[in-house]
Amino acid sequence: MNPFKIPIFPAVTSPIMQYIKGIILFYITFLLCHFVEAQTDRQKQMVTYTYSFIKNIEWPEKETPFKIHIITTDNGLKDHFRATSQKEVLAGRSVEVSFTSYVIIPQDADVIFVTNRYNPTIPSLLDQISGKSILFISDHFDKQRDVMINFLSSNTGELTFEYNRANIVYQNLEVKPGMRELGGSEVDLAKIFKQARDSIRSMELRALQLKARFDSMSFDVAAAVGIYRQQQSLIQERDLEIALRQNQIKRQGEVLDSLSAEFAESEKRLIDLTQTLDLREAELLTLGDEIDQQKENVAEGNRTLDEQSKRIAEQNDEIAQREERLNEMSNVVNSQQSALVFLVLFLVVLVGLSFLIFTAYRARKRAARKLAEQKEDLAHLLDELQETQSQLVQSEKMASLGTLTAGIAHEINNAINFVYSGIHVLSDKFTEIRPVISQVTELKQDDKDLKKSIEKLVKDREEVDYDGAQGVIDQMINSIKVGAERTTEIVKGLRIFSRSETEQKTKIDIHSDIDVALLLLNSRHKDAISINRKLSDQHMEVDGYKGQLSQAFLNIISNSIDAVAPKGKEGKIDIETSFDGKRAEVKITDNGVGMSEDDIQKIFDPFFTTKKVGAGTGLGLSITYGIVERHGGTIAVNSQIDQGTEFIIKLPLAS
C-alpha cells in the first residue's frame, strides 16, 4: 500500500464507491469554497473596520500622506487594502499602505496592523511605538491590558473587536464617541486592573518563595564557603610543608654532591701520594750509595782537621797578643770620639739659634709692613666714613627740607600777598589823590588867586577823601613792610640748609636758633597745638657752626609736633632755656604719645624710625645727637607712653 495516499481516498474500484467518492469530493470542494468565501468576507470586514477605527480617532495635524503599515503574510488582506486605499481620504490626507512580512516600524507610520501570526512580537513592538501617536491594531491578541484595538471572534464566529481607550490616549490620540457605535467592546479596565493586581500578588508570592529559597541557598553557600576556606588553609599548610620538605631534600642533595666531590679529590691525592712514595724509594737507594762514599771522605777529612787544629792553636796565641794592642788603641779612639760629639752638638745649637733670630727678624719686618698697610686702610676707611657721614647729614637736611617746603611756601605766599596786594591798593589810592597832589605841585609862590586856589584845593581834598586815603596808604605801607620782613626772616631761616660742614666756628645765639626753627615749622603747628616759649633773659652764646643748632632744635620740635598730633587741640609743646653758670640748658617738653623703654634706647640710632615707611628717614635724631656732640654738649631723653616726652640739651657757653 502506498503510504502517501490519503486515507479518505482509498483505491476504489466499485461504481458505488466511485459515486460516493464523487459526492465526497463535491462536498469537500463546496466546503472549501465556502471557507474561502468566509475568509474573503473576513478580510474585507477587517479593512472596513480599520478605516472606521481611523476615522473615529482624533489625529494630530500632518502634511504627509496617512500611512498604514500592515505586517502580514495574508495576500488576500493585502489585496483588499490595495484595492481600497486609493479611494480613501483619512484625516484629510491621502492614504498610503505598505506591507511587510517581517516585523518593522516604518518612519512616519500612523497605523500599524499586525495579523495574529506575529502576536509573540507584539510586546517589543509596543515598546518601540510607545507614546509616538501611532495606532496599533492587533488580531486576536490575548493581553487585554496591552491592546489598543484588537480583532476578536464572537461566540457565533463573527468578526468583532475590542479597544482599550487608556492605551490609545497614552499614544496622544483621542477616541471619538463614534467608536462606540462601531459595535466593538471597550476593555474593562477594572478587570484588567484586577488581573494585573492578581498577577502582581502571585509574583510577589513567587518572589517571597524565591527569596526564601535564595536565603537557604545563600546559607548553604556560606557553609560551603566556610568549608572551602578551611580546606584552602589546609591546602596552604600542606603546600608550606611540601615546600619545606623540598628545601630539605635540596639541601641534602647539595651535601651529597659536595661529599662525593671531596671523595673524588681524596682518591686523586692518594694516587699522587703513592707515586711520590715510589719516587722516594728510588732516591733513597741512590742516597745509600752516596752515604757510603762520603763516609770515606769523612775519615780523610778528620785527619786533615787534626792538622789544622794545631795550626789554629798557634794562631790563637798570636790573636791574643794583637787584641791587647787593639784595646789600648780603642781607648784613645773613645776619648777622641766624645770630644767630636760635643763639638757637633755645639754647632747644631749655634745654627738653630741663628735661624731663630733670622725668622724673628723677618716676621717683625713683615708685621711692620702689614701694620703700615692696615694703618693706611684705616685712614682710608676713616675718610670714607667721614664722607658718608657728611652725605648722611646733607641727605637728612634735604629730607627735612622736603617736608618743610610746602609749609614754607605757604608762609612766603602769605607774606608776598601782603606786598602784592598792598602795592595794588597803594597805587589805587595814589591815583585817587593824584589831582590834589598835582594842584599842590602846580601852586606857584606868586599866585595871584592864592586864596581861590587854596579854597579849590581844600574842596578837592574833601572830595577825594584825602585824609581817609592817607590812613589807607599808611596801612598799606605797613602791610608791605610786614610782608617784606617776613619773607626776609624765612629766607634767613632757610640759609641753614645751604651751609656746608667745613665752616669755621662762630658765636651762635641759642635763642635766635630756636626762633629760626620755630619760624620754619610755623605752618606745621599753627593749625592746632600751642607752643610756649619760656626763654631765659640771659643772652646765651655758644661756639658753634651756623645753622646746625637750628637744625637740631628743628628736628626735635618737628618730632614733638608729630607726637602731639593725635591729641588734637590738647597738644602742647614747651620750650624752656636756663643757665646754670657753666652750661646752657634747652628743655623741649611735649604731652604727646610718648615712647616705650625699648624705643628710647634706639632713637639716636641712624635709620631707626617709628614712622611709616617713607614718612621719616630715621636720621633726624641721630644727626641731632651728632650736632650736639660736635658742640661739646649732651642730650638726654625722658619719656612715658601716653604722658609725653622731654628732651634736655646741655651746651657749654662760649668763653
Binding site: 605766599n413 589805587d428 596801612q475
Partner: protein, 124 residues
C-alpha cells in the same frame, strides 16, 4: 550805583590779608571780614550771602572744616564757596573740590583782576 552790590564774607587768621582784601574790593562787594570762625558762622547764619571766602590753614579750624560746618547747618547752600590759601596743593582741599564742597580754589598771592573775574563769573 543804586544797584545793590553782591555780598561777601572773608575769613582769614591774618588781619593784614583782611585789610588788603577790604581795601581792594570795597567798590565791588559788600564785605564782612573776621579772623574768628565762630563769628563767621554766626554772620553766615543771619545773612543770605553771594560769596563765602576763607583761608585754609587757621588755628581753630581749617577752611574745609568751617565750610563743612556751614553745610551741616544748611546755611550756605546758594553761596559760591572759595578757599584762598598759600598752599599750592593740599589733600583736604582737593577732596573738597571733588565733592563740590567748594566751588573754587585760589592761591595766594591773589591778583585783583583774576579774583574779581573768578567771583563775577558766577553771577553771569
Amino acid at each position: 550805583m543804586s544797584e545793590t552790590k553782591p555780598s561777601l564774607i572773608y575769613l582769614d587768621d591774618e588781619e593784614i590779608n583782611l585789610i588788603l582784601f577790604r581795601e581792594m574790593f570795597k567798590k565791588d562787594f559788600e564785605i564782612f571780614t573776621t579772623t574768628s570762625p565762630d563769628d563767621a558762622i554766626e554772620y553766615v547764619k543771619g545773612h543770605n550771602l553771594d560769596y563765602i571766602l576763607t583761608d585754609q590753614l587757621m588755628p581753630i579750624m581749617t577752611g574745609v572744616e568751617y565750610l563743612k560746618e556751614l553745610k551741616e547747618l544748611g546755611v550756605s547752600d546758594n553761596s559760591m564757596k572759595v578757599i584762598i590759601s598759600g598752599f599750592t596743593q593740599e589733600g583736604e582741599v582737593d577732596a573738597a573740590l571733588e565733592t563740590k564742597l567748594i566751588d573754587s580754589f585760589v592761591s595766594k598771592p591773589w591778583s585783583y583782576q583774576n579774583l574779581k573775574e573768578l567771583l563775577l563769573s558766577r553771577r553771569g
